[in-house]
């Protein structure tokens, strides 16, 4: 839920505003609300999550009501309404991936990181969650890491350990 105490001031850079402008030009005049989802992705990639202040700023830019942004941000599963780890490991937990070991892998990640689903590690580096089908069912188990949504296929415990260690060294 949106919290008043999370309303830290937000300023978007001119470079980010330029990207917003480029997106808005894709739609007919007066239909700038179509830019809402792509713009929220850009803001989240920049800030790591969507605070109420950031969403208000987006609403002002698009000349729409704040609530129109909140209802979209809270509907779609990709938008984070609270801070996350720098790296969010999203593991596909749907049928075909589970047939080849996704649930076991999620248990391993929980043990490895020492935090439960949707919690952040003490160093702020990681959080993890199970997500619904990532459309790579033949190459499971799979996981992705935003904001680039880099994709990892045919995973096992060893590969996940290596991936986490690589991210720690970055």
């Amino acid at each position: 839920m949106l919290k008043v105490e999370e309303q830290q001031p937000v300023e978007f850079s001119s470079a980010l505003i330029e990207k917003f402008d480029e997106i808005v030009r894709r739609y007919p005049e007066g239909k700038q609300k179509s830019a809402l989802l792509p713009i929220l992705h850009l803001v989240q990639a920049e800030l790591g999550w969507l605070s109420a202040a950031a969403m208000d700023k987006v609403a002002a830019y698009l000349d729409i009501q704040d609530i129109e942004v909140y209802e979209v941000a809270s509907f779609y599963s990709m938008y984070f309404l609270k801070p996350q780890g720098k790296y969010v490991l999203e593991v596909c937990r749907t049928g075909p991936c589970c047939l080849v070991g996704a649930e076991k892998l999620m248990g391993h990640i929980e043990d490895k990181l020492g935090v439960k689903e949707n919690e952040v590690t003490a160093d702020g580096l990681f959080s993890w969650r199970g997500v619904e089908c990532l459309a790579a069912c033949g190459y499971g188990p799979v996981l992705q890491i935003g904001p680039e949504y880099t994709f990892y296929e045919n995973l096992n415990e060893q590969k996940v350990d290596e991936l986490i260690e690589d991210l720690r060294k970055k």
Partner: protein, 454 residues
């Protein structure tokens, strides 16, 4: 070797680039359509091809195009549905990743046929790498004069954009997709009016799946009649099948429609059989939303004839003994897999993805998930099985969009064909725990809890 129309050059190095794609004959369809055909003639070729929507519905594409309203002075739109998120289906991701120009070329030809001057490819947001691939390919096509103003001197203008979704399976439903593209929650619209009359921004709009649009390219290159010669009956052409689960070689395959299911599963040319020498227990032939079939009905029709990979053969016998082609998401379950657990998993998916607009879906999917969860984890009652059937019937056909049906069918079909397995979970709650899913860490404490409770 089976004939391939979409994936023929998939292994050619650099086929994702414009240069290599053109070396392999790419953009011939754009040149042919824009220089030698009228938009109506393109529509006619697609009608002759018999192409049916490859996203799941199977509705004839040419007929869908011909419904498009054409009022004077009103914009028309083509929107590509690349919101691939049906469990078991991953063909569109594959196509966009490895041969993006096939989709872009199809978008240009299709937009020309429909009189659209602005088109969008709505890609599920999780596919950011594919979004970047498509944007790069669009830039290449534009630089080469295949997009923009006066394409190839034809007088036809087209701008093409990629729109990322936000993570919602429901946006694969065409009206929910349009709502999302307009910057709103993905709540499906009541039809009519259909998008062909009032779609994006209230304008006439066609929404087609990635594979359907890509298939327009070989149809225009070779002609609709040639395309219609491939396949069987009203299932014409080729189809991408996403194969997953307990198969020796899961992956994306292009088949000629009419291939026997048994050959698809066991032949070395395709999936190579069931992994680890196990026996086939069941399949989901067209993505998680279609009814599950036990092995015997997967391979044979009720009359003993071989079942084929075609729209008609897969649905032969209705839901009593058949299933659906759907999106072509083919999931194989070996003899060790637990039907109850898998049904619970799919049910959780549909509960999670229900947009919440219709009460039967919003409440019913959650109810089914909870009942299946307690059956799987050893706390079920025998009456739960009939309760599930009852709830599934109350959802089916009672929602604005097909997500309700998609949630109901896997549950109803699993109980129809595997009722004894559900009863076993009630009678033997400890023995039936699904350790085969890699839940060894969890099975012991659950077993203790169940034993203590009983």
């Amino acid at each position: 070797m089976a004939r391939k129309l979409l994936l023929e050059h998939i292994n050619v190095p650099g086929i994702n680039t414009l240069d290599v794609y053109r070396q392999k004959g790419g953009y011939r369809a754009v040149e042919k359509a824009l220089k030698t055909l009228t938009p109506d003639e393109v529509v006619e070729e697609v009608k002759k091809s018999g192409l049916r929507g490859r996203g799941g519905a199977g509705f004839p594409t040419g007929m869908k195009w011909s419904f498009l309203a054409k009022p004077e002075g009103v914009a028309r739109y083509l929107v590509c549905n690349a919101d691939e998120s049906e469990p078991g289906t991953f063909k569109d991701r594959y196509l966009m990743t490895y041969i993006p120009h096939a989709l872009i070329e199809g978008m240009i030809v299709s937009s020309f046929a429909l009189g659209a001057n602005t088109s969008y490819i709505y890609v599920r947001g999780e596919m950011m790498p594919q979004i970047r691939i498509l944007e790069r390919a669009i830039a290449e096509a534009k630089n080469a004069g295949f997009l923009g103003k006066n394409i190839l001197g034809s007088g036809y203008d087209l701008e093409l954009y990629v729109q990322p979704g936000g993570g919602a399976y429901i946006c694969g439903e065409e009206t929910a997709l349009l709502e999302s593209l307009e910057g709103k929650r993905g709540n499906p619209r009541i039809k009519p009016p259909f998008p062909a009359i009032a779609g994006l921004y209230g304008c006439p709009t066609v929404v087609n799946n990635v594979e359907s649009i890509a298939a327009v390219v070989p149809i225009i290159n070779d002609g609709g009649d040639e395309y219609a010669k491939i396949g069987i009956g009203r299932s014409t052409g080729t189809k991408l099948i996403s194969a997953s689960g307990n198969l020796v070689r899961p992956g994306v395959y292009e088949i000629e429609l009419g291939l026997p299911v048994e050959e698809f599963i066991y032949s070395d040319e395709w999936c190579g059989g069931i992994a680890n020498g196990k026996r086939l227990k069941a399949t989901v032939a067209g993505g998680s939303s279609v009814p599950v079939l036990p092995a015997n009905l997967t391979l044979k029709l009720a009359n003993g004839d071989p079942r084929l990979m075609s729209y008609e053969s897969l649905s032969e016998g209705g839901f009593a003994t058949g299933t659906m082609m759907g999106s072509g998401g083919f999931i194989a379950f070996d003899e060790d897999q637990c039907i109850v657990r898998n049904t619970w998993n799919f049910s959780r998916f549909y509960h999670h993805e229900s947009c919440g607009q219709c009460s039967p879906c919003r409440e019913g999917t959650g109810w089914m998930e909870k009942v299946l969860h307690r059956l799987e984890y050893g706390h079920g009652k025998m009456s739960d099985i009939d309760l599930l059937v009852d709830v599934s019937k109350k959802i089916e056909g009672n929602t604005i969009c097909p997500l309700g049906d998609a949630a109901a069918w896997p549950v109803a079909s699993a109980i129809r064909h595997f009722r004894d397995e559900f009863e076993w979970h009630v009678n033997e709650p400890v023995k039936s725990l699904s350790t085969n899913y890699g839940l060894a860490n969890y099975a012991e404490p659950i077993a203790k809890a169940v034993t203590a409770e009983n």
